[in-house]
Symmetry: D2
Subunit: 438 residues, 4 copies
């Protein structure tokens, strides 16, 4: 069957949270963020409480609740429409609730089950003077996992300056620092970022920090029909590229006959930007991509671009890596010009903004990505952009269609990985005539 | 089963043809182009003869032949490697051969069969002072058929100035001239264009000639996942666009609320450019696309672009139509901004150049198209461009991979028709560093 | 743009038609079937008239009409909701109406346009004593075209006994009768079959009538990844199969080493069963498939099966051909075991039954086909079967899902043609428990 | 970029291993299986040594080696063709080698790097009297991970009798034992199974052990075109099915109107059978599938079937779970009839047999699976079966094509997960005519 996890736990509606002092009797009113232990699996969920005197009302995992609190402990019952629901009791420990749940799935022949949780009020967005953090990585992770300890904690608005190793784990000095497979710098913990928010990663600087890159001469299976596969059957060797950082071009280090003068403009990009995936699912490897971003290999994730990714864990847990000196659309060699990178980026948290897939923005365009087979990625990119237009510009379905029909620009971003990528771009100049209409 | 036609008849190798006088005894040496009648189906093929005295040698439909001629008649026998082959005899009537063939498929239990043909020497490329033809269409065809009589005959190098009606058959005065479905202007017969050649159509002028276009507000099925389909379920109305020819923008004529100021830059393009398909296969409708071009709906087929299409019939039989005032990538509304057009174009014939699919070129880029599902079109576009690089720049497979890996740009051209389209573009500036190497 | 034809003309609702005498003053009340000439393109449409005294009401191409008739002529005006509509006038000539239409597209800046039509009352279903027709074909068509003259006219309930040539045009004697490409026997005109109906073709006999078949040893591109394409690169030869009609097996006539004893059971099938497509669109070649059936290459179209196809022309115009002695799923060699066939089938007309794609039924299962890429064909087959279940068993969407989730059987029917095919089968034994519930 | 890991480490050729006593001076001759620690990532590789006196030769990670040993320590140098290679030295500790490697990638501008390994001789296949193990699971894993401790160690030929919980983590008593998402029983360690081998899992018993299953009434996105998505938009509820273990049928527990008598035959199957993936890549979640098997959701993995899976870790580490009381092809509801299961199976190890994807066999057919989009899965299934025929029956490419063209049967196994599945089946009766030919 499909992965049947408690995905509902990520479908959190975000509300404002009342400030609260730990002294005096606690007022439990607010939106709580809970971490549960479900038979050994960690998961998160939100719930809402409203306290009036000793009476509690609100909503627990979709079900309306009623209960009481005496300031030290609480108990409530939440009922679903099928005759099931949750019996919850617990204690108040400063700002932390510790609860025990007996849950019965209404309409199911199964027995009730138990789990425990701890909960804290969802934080308000941190505001502080933005800081610049210098960070020299010492460990490189190969999964976009929520279980790796954060290497640095920052505030929204802060900027981090760091480096990434190349896809093979080699740093700017030529030293191997990790097994290959897109080892990442991070994860960075961004205060106040919570599941249901969007993390904005604005790349303020992306510079090459060595003069060579590694690639190869294959064409990936996804790009070859049978005829081309036969023609390419004897390729498969490593190609080292020389990066001329002054002239801003790349050339094969030992060029074959017809490529002796071949030169391509450098366009440094990050192949991977990701938030950690939720704790209840298997952390993807750093060759994979999805709603969390990941190994998108999109050659417009360059200096000046902002990448928007959904937050699935407290702190977002941001990873970056897999720098490319340049990459043709589709990353047809499987590798691009793989190299180490000098990266600086600013993070921000957009509270409660949802998006159905990764999004990128630069000075002139907005870009919505779809991931899957090319046919499926095309649908997803369209759906992602349609939601963006509807949410941001309040367009009706008919209006969305008219804008897409006249302004859509599609490119294939990636063809080398398990997911191919298609990106739907719209020029901001065109969208500006929508904004003027408001 | 698959369409089992005599496709081999199109696989013609092109050779120079010796000039020949009709007076005196004919020398049959040369490359002959034959039109056959095969049980009521017309088809074409090439064959080669070499005459020495009265002896004939050469190749007939893949098989080596030996025979004789007395200047008035000829006969030869061609043998295949399986024990079959062709017995051919005929008469010489000026520059025309009239032949009768008895063919036996070697290794097949079937009986021998007969057919007749007439053949002429493949023409040499016409050279004449280029002319400008003014052409006012009176009939509009709805199939890219070889059986429609040419509306005009021109020489390679000539320029034709004409008009096209919109996809619904409406002309620049608002008058309906045809049933809808992309009715075409043409076919134009280009002298000396023969099967195996490539036709180049250089669009020298493409201007709007009325101030309105028709579209609608749906999104095509290929672009919608289930969630978007549900959102779009109540759309489906016609949208008339006003074309401001002075300010060079399009706007909805009766704009919905949020589109009251919406403006998109005009970018006139031709949705259809096609050569007629070969006579032995069913002529495609003008909503279809394929190796012959057709309804490609690619928004870079604009003024200044050159479209390259294979020739499948004597004279190429060029069709054009389906003008769009502008079109987003993918033609997501099924219709673009459908309008009539003022078109001028120059035709040329490139003898013996083959290509696996439609190609387009402009001042800055070369573009290879693939057609099918998006996943298949992506493969085809890559294969088409790989062949272009190998043929034109003599790149090895390894070198092709390195150029594609670093310089490929993919866009989705069309998603509204039976075939979707993917286009692989490469900047000429990058290719120039290859040429320098030569 | 997409093929924008007057497809609405096929969306006909079927109603009962009042009998009518040609003598005396005609009563125009009834459902009329019109053939129009639209700027040289033929098309069909239905319209409804109701006559009370001299007053006419009804619906003309979607628009409500009002008018009058004096028994010799008629005139009416039909208005659409956008301010356009049709002015219609004409004469009554026995049971035939001859009309002239001036039509204005409401809301469009285009000018009104004219066309003429003739109309007859939609026929009631013919009832007659079923007959057996012996038919020896002399002509073989290579398009599923409405423009080929019927070779035989029959009643619903009649049976036709005939033969088909093989995909290469070779008959049961080994004589070539047509160019290859699945030349068809037919078209057969079935009285009273009208657009909007469904034609049922029940195959009562399907026997081999020669002892050999032709195939080859390639694997079609759609079935090969790059690795397999490289392995298969040197294949491509014709394979003749011996058909042992007594032992009911096929074996390679000249078996390669490991196939010296290879035997496969014969299972004669028809690769093509089709109704002609509507007159306003380009007739597909006999290698293509679609809503009209066509070259489906489905190995369960065997003796005992019933094929259901939509009717797009008066008389349905049924074609059959492309017999296979047997075929593996997907027709992986591009050819199956291509051979001639002895065919007998009974036709029937199901008035007013619509279906979104071809359907097949045998004694034990119902089968709904989807055609396109495999991913699209899978969706279509599911949608086709979901509609079948909803229409026939009145299942709700939730019930459709439960039946499909527990009873669906999918097979790949065809992979060799432009459209691949996926078939969704359900056992009648399972469906019987639905019927019991009624 | 693509996941660039040291995948070459799994490409092990298997050879016989000389027995060796730990007493006396060790003879290092043999095939060694090494576990490396590469900058914190664990990986495996094989290498070959041949000892003559004190001299060592052989092959280390593809490179020919030369060195020496004194019985307590060893050192050798392996050279690649690009000027790089490995300097290796280490100690002999009983049957274990402990080595340190300095490796230089020839032709790369990067610096040499170091890692350490321990190695043991690859085991010979264990032979022992087959045993039956009763195993009651207490922990359920949600990743096909090599890092979960084996729950039981068995020999090839042994049989294990155990139970599985349902996809939601509920056992045969109705008690919840795990978070949902196909929690697995296992992993089972099979002695002597080593990377490069194939594990055969023969299911000797698969019985239902409770009388209810859980499913729902949605249709998965992959199966719906836009039209069907709109029809299904209001579905989405849980459906409980009653399993009648006596009459061997399933029915909805609270049937909707038209399903009041609906009954489907039970056909218990395992949705998941998997070997752990290699240690160097991210372990997939138990909703995913791939070369390792996993959540294949194929309704022919039933009692009597044998599943073949590649071994990627010492001991194979076999997981099983996700029982379905029955499942339509494609698992269209996302869930099948999810239930707990009583399972008994026998394991075996086939040394050195490779396969490009999962394979299944039963009494009458062999089945090769492909996984991806349906279009890609179709190619993969064909490639998998072509390799099977070539390996087992020594067929040439031409012969493979002829067998596939005449005997292929394709079904869609799964459509609900990230990977869809297509299975290519061939009847053993047909293959028997090949074997007779040998």
């Amino acid at each position: 069957m499909r992965r049947v996890v408690l995905t509902s736990i990520l479908l959190i509606s975000v509300a404002s949270v009342r400030a609260q002092s730990d002294s005096a009797k606690a007022d439990l009113t607010g939106k709580w963020f809970a971490t549960m232990d479900f038979f050994g699996t960690r998961a998160n969920f939100d719930f809402d409480l409203e306290q009036k005197g000793e009476a509690l009302t609100g909503k627990f995992r979709g079900d309306p609740l009623e209960g009481t609190t005496d300031g030290h402990s609480f108990q409530f019952h939440a009922k679903d429409t099928q005759g099931g629901g949750e019996q919850v009791k617990g204690t108040i420990d400063g700002g932390t609730l510790r609860g025990e749940v007996e849950e019965a799935d209404g309409g199911m022949p199964s027995k009730p089950y138990h789990y425990s949780f701890t909960a804290k009020l969802r934080p308000t967005k941190t505001t502080a003077t933005p800081q610049l953090h210098e960070f020299a990585p010492t460990v490189f992770y190969r999964q976009f996992s929520p279980f790796n300890a954060p290497v640095l904690t920052v505030n929204p608005g802060d900027t981090i300056h760091t480096t990434t190793v190349d896809a093979g784990g080699i740093d700017f000095t030529g030293a191997t620092r990790s097994m290959g497979g897109n080892p990442q710098t991070g994860p960075f913990y961004v205060r106040s970022a919570m599941p249901g928010d969007t993390l904005a990663v604005h790349i303020t600087r992306l510079k090459l920090n060595r003069d060579w890159a590694q690639s190869d001469d294959v064409i990936v299976q996804r790009a070859m029909d049978g005829g081309l596969a036969v023609k390419m059957k004897d390729t498969g060797k490593t190609v080292i590229w020389h990066l001329d950082l002054e002239k801003n071009t790349a050339s094969p280090a030992k060029a074959a006959e017809h490529l002796a003068s071949y030169k391509v403009p450098l366009k440094p990009m990050l192949g991977c930007v990701a938030t950690a995936t939720g704790p209840a699912t298997a952390p993807p490897g750093t060759g994979d991509s999805g709603y969390f971003g990941g190994n998108m290999d999109f050659n417009e994730i360059v200096e000046g671009a902002t990448v928007y990714l959904p937050v699935s864990n407290a702190g977002a847990l941001l990873y970056l890596g897999d720098g490319h000196a340049l990459q043709g659309d589709g990353e047809l060699n499987g590798n691009a010009l793989e190299t180490s990178m000098d990266v600086e980026f600013t993070v921000d948290v957009i509270s409660g903004k949802r998006q159905p897939g990764p999004r990128v923005e630069n000075a002139t365009t907005i870009m919505a990505m779809g991931l899957g087979s090319l046919d499926d990625a095309f649908k997803q990119a369209t759906s992602n952009m349609a939601a963006w237009l509807a949410d941001t510009y309040k367009l009706t379905p008919s209006e969305v269609a008219q804008v897409l029909g006249t302004a859509a620009q599609y490119k294939v971003s990636e063809a080398a990985d398990r997911n191919a990528g298609v990106v739907l771009k719209i020029d901001k100049a065109t969208l500006a005539t929508l904004q003027a209409a408001k």
